[in-house]
């Protein structure tokens, strides 16, 4: 029985990139859910934890998306992460519009 030839590194990278691209929707759903939790905590005691809960998947996307060939998505995630860092430092200094921008990044 013939065996398939081994995949080259480029082919393996291509397959991983395809798989990552297919997982993006799921990752954005996770980010959206974390954003909803942050909005729910906007007046609550666990605001910092809610910010961290949103920052974690966004940070991962900022680092991984460009590695898998999705540069624009990575840049958008990085911008969102920067906003969250600023927001964590001064939640009261942010307008609702600025906060909603973070969510908008995840849905565009």
């Amino acid at each position: 029985m013939p065996h398939d030839p081994p995949l080259s590194l480029q082919d393996k990278v291509r397959l991983l990139r395809e798989r990552y691209a297919n997982s993006v929707e799921e990752k954005l759903i996770e980010i959206s859910a974390a954003y909803d939790r942050l909005v729910g905590e906007k007046e609550g005691d666990d605001l910092a934890a809610a910010i961290d809960g949103l920052a974690s998947p966004i940070h991962k996307m900022a680092g991984s998306a460009p590695t898998f060939g999705l540069a624009e998505l990575g840049e958008t995630a990085a911008e969102s992460e920067e906003l969250l860092i600023l927001y964590k430092g001064n939640p009261d200094g942010f307008s609702n519009e600025q906060v909603s921008n973070v969510s908008a990044y995840g849905t565009n």
Partner: protein, 131 residues
């Protein structure tokens, strides 16, 4: 004096997507033995048993971040001299300076090109051994 044989690499990284692509690159392209863990605490628990030649250490991890993990490694007599390369998207000049001050031998910036990652690591390794 630095050792000059790079065979076993320990990747400490909490993102499974990055774990997978780094593992594939290091094993397939570099031929390295690779051990992986997902947190700083897990790294501390396993590192003495692994005795890696080199650690690739993510900076931003929940609970115990990369710098905290590195400080803890430097306090463990069995592995305190193990060279560490940080992998991070946080690579502004002052941040890189902070990582080097902590004792990292270099920083690999995220995003990275999987195809050239081994070359990056080998160049850093060669510079480290020449120092």
């Amino acid at each position: 004096m630095a050792e000059n044989s790079l065979n076993r690499i320990f990747l400490v990284e909490d993102d499974p997507d990055i774990q997978e692509i780094v593992l594939m690159t290091l094993k397939d392209l570099g031929g390295y033995a690779v051990d992986i863990c997902s947190s700083g605490q897990e790294a501390l628990d396993k590192i003495v048993g692994i005795q890696p030649d080199l650690i690739l250490l993510d900076v931003m991890m929940p609970e115990m971040d990369g710098p905290t993990t590195l400080r803890a490694i430097r306090a463990m007599s069995e592995v305190k001299d193990t060279p560490v390369i940080f992998m991070t998207a946080r690579s502004q000049t002052h941040e890189v300076a902070e990582y080097m001050e902590l004792g990292a031998i270099d920083v690999i910036r995220k995003p990275f090109d999987p195809v050239t990652l081994c070359n990056q690591i080998e160049n850093i390794w060669d510079r480290y051994n020449a120092a």
